[in-house]
Amino acid sequence: MKKLLVCLLSLGVCSLGALAGVTPAVAQQWPNRPIRFIVPWGAGGITDTISRMYNERVSAILGQTIVHEYRPGAAGRIGMGELGRATPDGYTIGMANAGQLTIHPNLYARLPYDADTSFVILGMMGMSPMALAVPVQSPVRSVADLRALSQRRSLNFGTAGIAGPHHLAAELLRKTGVAGVPIHYRGGGGEIMAAMLNGALDANFDTVYQQNIFQQDGRYRILAVTSRERMPQLPDVPTFAELGNPEINLETFYAAAAPSGVPAPIIARLAAAYAEAARSPEIVSWLQEMALTNVHLTPPELATYIRDWRERWRLVIEEQNIRVQ
């Protein structure tokens, strides 16, 4: 009987939509069945790994299984569209990244979601600062050397795709007088490293984690990092701010998000669960090993954070006249 009542109630809620206030009973019962977590990328890889690290803990905190669903395609836009359209009942949440929320709205006239209104960002899972590196055989030892070299000849910068963070970082650098032609590689890491080593590329931006692997291996030399503070893995590498370019400060991010319209009590519980997971010692030490940083912000603070970044990218994209359509 009670089950029938709940069923009727939830049906009612579905039909009335998110606008009608949800009865507290439903919010209290939540979560009484598994939660879907949409990863807008393929399985494996860093996005999947981060989600799994977090959701193992979040699932323990909420006492409910979290099932991962992969919706790859169009650099995460397909999955984000699906998350935005999902029933806002707290049983469908997912991952959101810098690309879909802060960069794509400035590039594409038509998106399957509205970066401002479709989602509530529950919590930051990790942020990935970038590092500028040159091949180890290069005579360049510092950002100043690179700038001097770029005045003598035109440089080649490797990027993992147009208007991605690797590319935008290079464009930010261009504003400080280090000019270069961006060369885009679909596959990223491997092809770029080959091109760096055989001398085709002069420099590239990539995540600190990736660059550090190649520096330890004696293939790359890291010149500077885009994080706010020095990275613990690279205590000797300066930040761009220290070098007098505080505007070159960027990190991509991995965040947990819910479709907007999820009842406030459920949002609060989800946000609290992700915040608790983010502070757990295992996650903190794992993030550090992966050269990821994190900030602990509430959903409204995250909304502001994302709006600010979107505006920053808009300026860069307009100034450099980056177009994809």
């Binding site: 709940v6 069923c7 049906l11 069945r33 669903e69």
Partner: protein
């Protein structure tokens, strides 16, 4: 390139290879469409080519090849020119279940969709009786449920949405 020496006795069929003529003309049309659409992207010179460069010239190449195929086909007979036979029943019987499966999968789930698709596909073959189709559909639905959903555990909606909502 394919001009068969005229030594071979014509084995019936028309004097021109209609099959190849149709293929050639389709290549011409398709190539033209590709080249036309490519003009809306930046073409540019080869040394500084834009997004439209490859599709534009590939389209033109396809037009050229299409013209050549049509031309060659006009001067030779079809080596085995049996009549074009179309069997709309077979054609629909194979492709319609695929489309219907795509439509029903998300709302109705894997098991029901597989059942419907197998039932529909029986239309393709006159050998399948209604009872045979029913049996086949039932067996396959179970195989699909056990194999894909239970053993392999692939990500796919299994049961109808309505049923899930009702059980909740």
């Amino acid at each position: 390139m394919t001009d068969t020496p005229a030594s071979g006795e014509p084995r019936g069929g028309s004097r021109t290879n209609i099959r190849d003529q149709i293929a050639g003309m389709l290549f011409v049309l398709l190539g033209a469409a590709i080249a036309y659409k490519a003009r809306s992207y930046t073409v540019g010179p080869p040394s500084n080519s834009g997004a439209g460069f490859f599709p534009f010239y590939l389209g033109l190449l396809l037009v050229g090849l299409g013209v050549a195929i049509t031309a060659v086909a006009s001067f030779k007979h079809d080596p085995d020119a049996e009549r074009f036979s179309m069997h709309p029943r077979t054609f629909l019987g194979v492709l319609l279940p695929v489309v219907i499966f795509g439509i029903t999968l998300v709302p109705a789930g894997l098991v029901l969709s597989a059942f419907i698709a197998v039932m529909l596909s029986s239309y393709a073959s006159p050998e399948v009786t209604f009872r045979g189709a029913l049996l086949n559909a039932a067996v396959l639905s179970v195989i699909v449920l056990v194999g894909f959903a239970m053993i392999l555990g692939i990500q796919i909606p299994v049961w109808p949405n309505v049923l899930i909502e009702w059980l909740r």
